[in-house]
């Protein structure tokens, strides 16, 4: 049952990722990304990280993807008009595409070789079910306190920076 769920969600994530890779329509791409995120969240839960699964849904799906969709909606039209900008579109040279795929497949090969040559063992066979929330909270507040504070400052700085960048500095208005 759980094995079937694992392979099902893996297939969902990979198919959605491939769809993003080949999609022409941005908003369909965003939908595929939604599916990929949900599949990965399910895999998190299967791997015993229930809190992070929900955090994935809240942060990636509820925050990041909504922002991305905002970006798409503000920069694309539902029906692509044949505007003047489409004629002088910079075409992707085919060599770039070929090289991209070659590099990608090369990386798969190298990583697969590493993965199969390594000998991973589980540390201890019975992992007792802990509430991961409590563990993560204790870890965050004790041994990872400094990174936690730095992440908070980073978020604040990013917020201010984004607000500053997106300011409309058009003197006509």
């Amino acid at each position: 049952m759980e094995v079937a769920a694992f392979y099902g969600f893996s297939a969902l994530a990979i198919l959605a990722a491939l769809f993003i890779l080949f999609s022409k329509n941005l908003i369909y791409g965003a939908f595929a990304l939604l599916l990929a995120f949900l599949g990965i969240a399910a895999l998190f839960v299967l791997a015993g990280a229930d809190f992070l699964g929900v955090a994935q849904i809240m942060i990636y799906v509820g925050g990041i993807l909504v922002l991305l969709m905002f970006g798409i909606m503000l920069t694309q039209r539902a029906i692509q008009q044949e505007g003047p900008s489409r004629h002088n579109r910079v075409e992707v040279p085919i060599t770039r595409k070929v090289w991209g795929f070659v590099i990608g497949i090369g990386i798969v090969g190298v990583l697969a070789k590493i993965i199969f040559s390594a000998n991973f063992r589980m540390s201890g066979d019975a992992v007792s079910r802990k509430s991961t929330i409590k563990t993560i909270g204790v870890e965050l507040m004790t041994s990872h306190l400094l990174p936690f504070e730095i992440a908070a400052i980073l978020l604040l700085v990013a917020l201010i920076g984004a607000a500053y960048l997106a300011l409309n500095r058009n003197p006509a208005q």
Binding site: I27, M69, F70, M73, A78
Partner: protein
């Protein structure tokens, strides 16, 4: 998981699902009746006794209307919008604890779809997904008013989610659990969270109004500015799904409010009632009847909050959009943070003193 357990869980989930749908259906009727009462008129009274068949008549009308998709709309997303809205609205009902347990032949059956130790976070995740239905539908309509409504809805939901989450953190600090069943069990008797978290409750209920796009904050479908908002282009049952999803969201948020702040199925004197019933009717029947009373109390609280939503709708005028954003970001979020600090201080310093003094 053996077969009986599986069947029992399936039945529980089915019952929860049907209950949510029926309550949402009759909320549409109640909305009109309450509106009629507040505006001193009758409300619907033709279909059935006191208009009780009105929701069925409405559904019939919606189904038989022409199902129209605008020529320039994105067809798939246009259909996906209302479906997503309905789906995400219904998903949240899975973790709400409707009552304690039923005892049948020595088996304990929990009156809750799924008991999970991240229940409240799950509700939050699903609420975060709820934006998609509105945003997709509004964008796919290929209409400027729809798009404006959708963007309004999305930014409003995201903004108020922040304040809602912060007001919730105070509750979580007190209960030190994320499981809804656990939070309810801790408010046994009259030990409700509302007495410890009045400010948090105010913030939470304001934010839940905004999350459901209900009246003081129904900017996404504001007729005077945006024609119909994100569902301008929708008709027939697709429009019905959007409206229905709003009522389901109302019921879910009322239930969550009563679980988090008003003790869910707990009521004062429940121990006395329980002991009377079990001594009179035996440990099985008495227990079941006590559970039923608790569930009735829970629904009473939830229905009161649905009534409160309607009451506010016909009392308070709509905000302007900048007022909405100012309220969310500049007032509610600082207030929620202040609430967290106070709660933290009280849990740290006041609670040991009071417990020592009581002992």
């Amino acid at each position: 998981m053996d077969l009986t357990e599986f069947l029992v869980k399936t039945a529980t989930i089915f019952v929860v699902f049907v209950l949510t749908l029926v309550i949402a259906m009759y909320s549409t009727w109640a909305e009109r009746k309450v509106a009629g009462f507040i505006q001193d008129r009758m409300g619907p009274n033709r279909a059935g006794w006191g208009g009780l068949l009105q929701p069925l008549a409405d559904a019939g009308k919606m189904f038989f209307k022409e199902d129209f998709i605008p020529a320039l709309a994105n067809k798939w997303l246009f259909i996906a919008g209302p479906s997503l809205a309905m789906l995400t609205a219904l998903l949240a009902s899975a973790v709400i604890p409707f009552g304690s347990t039923f005892r049948i032949n020595g088996h304990e059956i929990v009156l809750q779809g799924v008991e999970s130790n991240i229940g409240i976070l799950y509700v939050f995740g699903v609420v975060a997904l709820g934006v998609y239905g509105i945003m997709v539908g509004g964008w796919a309509s290929n209409n400027k008013f729809s798009l404006l409504g959708a963007i309004r809805a999305a930014s409003q939901n995201i903004s108020y989610e922040v304040a809602m989450g912060l007001s919730l953190i105070a509750i979580l600090m007190m209960s030190s659990s994320l499981s809804l069943g656990e939070i309810v069990a801790q408010q046994h008797g009259m030990n409700w969270n509302i007495f410890y978290q009045p400010l948090g409750f105010l913030i939470f209920i304001t934010c839940s109004f905004a999350e459901c796009n209900r009246v003081p904050f129904d900017l996404p479908e504001c007729e005077t500015e945006l024609v119909g908002g994100y569902h301008t282009e929708y008709g027939s049952m697709k429009l019905g799904f959007y409206l229905f999803a709003e009522y389901i969201n109302m019921f879910i948020s009322s239930a969550i409010i009563s679980v988090l702040y008003f003790g869910g199925y707990n009521y004062p004197g429940m121990d006395w009632v329980y002991s009377q019933l079990t001594s009179a009717l035996g440990s099985e029947t008495g227990h079941n009847i006590a559970t039923l009373i608790g569930t009735a109390v829970f629904f009473g609280k939830a229905l009161f909050f649905i009534f409160f939503y309607m009451w506010v709708r016909w009392t308070i005028p709509r905000f302007r959009y900048d007022q909405l954003m100012n309220l969310g970001w500049k007032k509610l979020i600082p207030l929620a943070i202040f609430n967290i600090i106070i709660t933290g201080a009280a849990v740290l310093f006041l609670k040991p003193v009071i417990t020592a003094w009581l002992n």
